[in-house]
Symmetry: C2
Subunit: 241 residues, 2 copies
Amino acid sequence: MSGVKPTLEVCLSPALLHLYDTNDAIVVIIDIFRATSTITSALHNGAKCVIPVASVAECITIGAATSNSVTAGERDGKIAPGLQHGNSPLEYPGEFIRDKTLVLTTTNGTRLLHMVEGAAQIVIGSFLNLTALCDYLLARNKRVLLGCASWKDKYNLEDTLFAGAVVDKLQHAFEVADDSARSARHLYRSSGGENLIEFLKDSSHYKRLSVYGLEQEMEYCVTPDLHPVVPYLEGREIVIS
Amino acid sequence: MSGVKPTLEVCLSPALLHLYDTNDAIVVIIDIFRATSTITSALHNGAKCVIPVASVAECITIGAATSNSVTAGERDGKIAPGLQHGNSPLEYPGEFIRDKTLVLTTTNGTRLLHMVEGAAQIVIGSFLNLTALCDYLLARNKRVLLGCASWKDKYNLEDTLFAGAVVDKLQHAFEVADDSARSARHLYRSSGGENLIEFLKDSSHYKRLSVYGLEQEMEYCVTPDLHPVVPYLEGREIVIS
C-alpha cells in the first residue's frame, strides 16, 4: 500500500526469534564480534563466497570437498584444531582471499542464520557495511527484522548497538515497530555514535576477547563503511552481487 | 568472601530465564505496567496479602475459598468476566483494600514469578518502591537477578527502564555482570532519569494501554517511591514484613 511504511523490528537473541514473523521479511544477521564483520571483509576483498557451517567437523569436510577453499574458525580465541585460519577480518586481505571459498565455522552467527525460516532474503550486517546495508534496505522498502546473534543466546551490547545504528538511519522510512528497536536506537544514541570502541570496552565480549589480545580486531570491526557491500545468502553460500 | 561484590544481572524476558542461575539468588520480579505496581500499592495500602494466579478460573476458585478477598484481573484492558476488579494500582486505596486478600491474575508477571526456581527470595519491584527495594538489596549483599516480565516474552521498554534504574543505584556495591544490565543502565540514563512517562510514551505498552484510557494509571506507575515497601513471596502469598 502506498504511504504505509514497512515495519522494522529487532530480535535481541536467537532465543526470541520465534516471537517474530520472518516470512517474506528481509532478515539481517548481526554478529559484530566477529562473524559478520569477517564475512563482509572477506567478500569485499574478493572471496568467491563464504560457506557458513556450524561445526569444525563440517568445516573440514566441506573444505576438503571444495577446490581453492580455506577453512576457518576459532574456539576460545584460537584457530580450532584441524582448521587453517581464524575468525578475524584482518586475516583476509585481497592478496590472500581473492577468488577463494571461505568455509567458516562460527557459533552464534551461523546458528541464527540457519534458524531463520521463510525470509525473502537473509543479508549480513556489520559496521563495516553499515551505510551500504541501510541504502539496500531503503531501496527494497520491505519489512525488516534485525537479528542479533548474541552470545550463546545471551543479549550482547555490540550487536544491539549496531541494530540501533541501523534503526537510527532507517527510522524516517520505516515504522519502528517494537520496543527492542526503540531501545537499540536509544543505546546507539547514548553511545554518541562515535568512538564506539570506547563505549564497548564495558561489554562482556570486549572483556572476553581482549584476554586473547584481539583489541585491534575489535576496533576494526566497529569502523563504519570500510567494506561497502551487502552479502546475502544464496543456497548455502554467502555472496555479493 | 570479603571484598568480592555480588553479581547483578538483568533477564530481559522470561524466554531468557533459563540462561541464568537463580539458585540462591534474590530474584526481583518487574512488571511495571501494571502487576508489580499494583501489588506494591495494594500491600502498602494495607492489603493482608496478594495471591498471584495465572488464570481467571483459578482467580475465581481461590477468591471463593478465601474469606475477605477481592478477585482482580483484566483481559484486553477491561475487568475479566467473573472477576470483581481491575489491574490498576489506583483501584486499591486503603479504605477499600485494608486487611483484604487480593487474588490477582496477570499474564506476564505471574508467569515469570512461577517460573523462577531455587531462589533465595523472590521480591517485587516497581518504581513505586524503587528506593526501598534498592536499600533492601544493598543490605542483603547477595547475588541479584532483575527479571523483566516483558509482554508475552517480547522485550519491553518500561521493565528494562526500571531494571536500569536499579542497576544505576546499585552499581557501586555490585558487579554489573552482563550486557543486559549495562544496557538497561544506558537506557535509564538516556531517559534522563526524570519525566519517565514522556520517555515511555514511545513504547508498545504505553500505546496499547492508552487506547483504553489508562494514561493516568501509567503515570502513577512510574512515580518513584510512593509506596516504600518490599513485597516478597512466602508460599503462594506475596506479603510485606
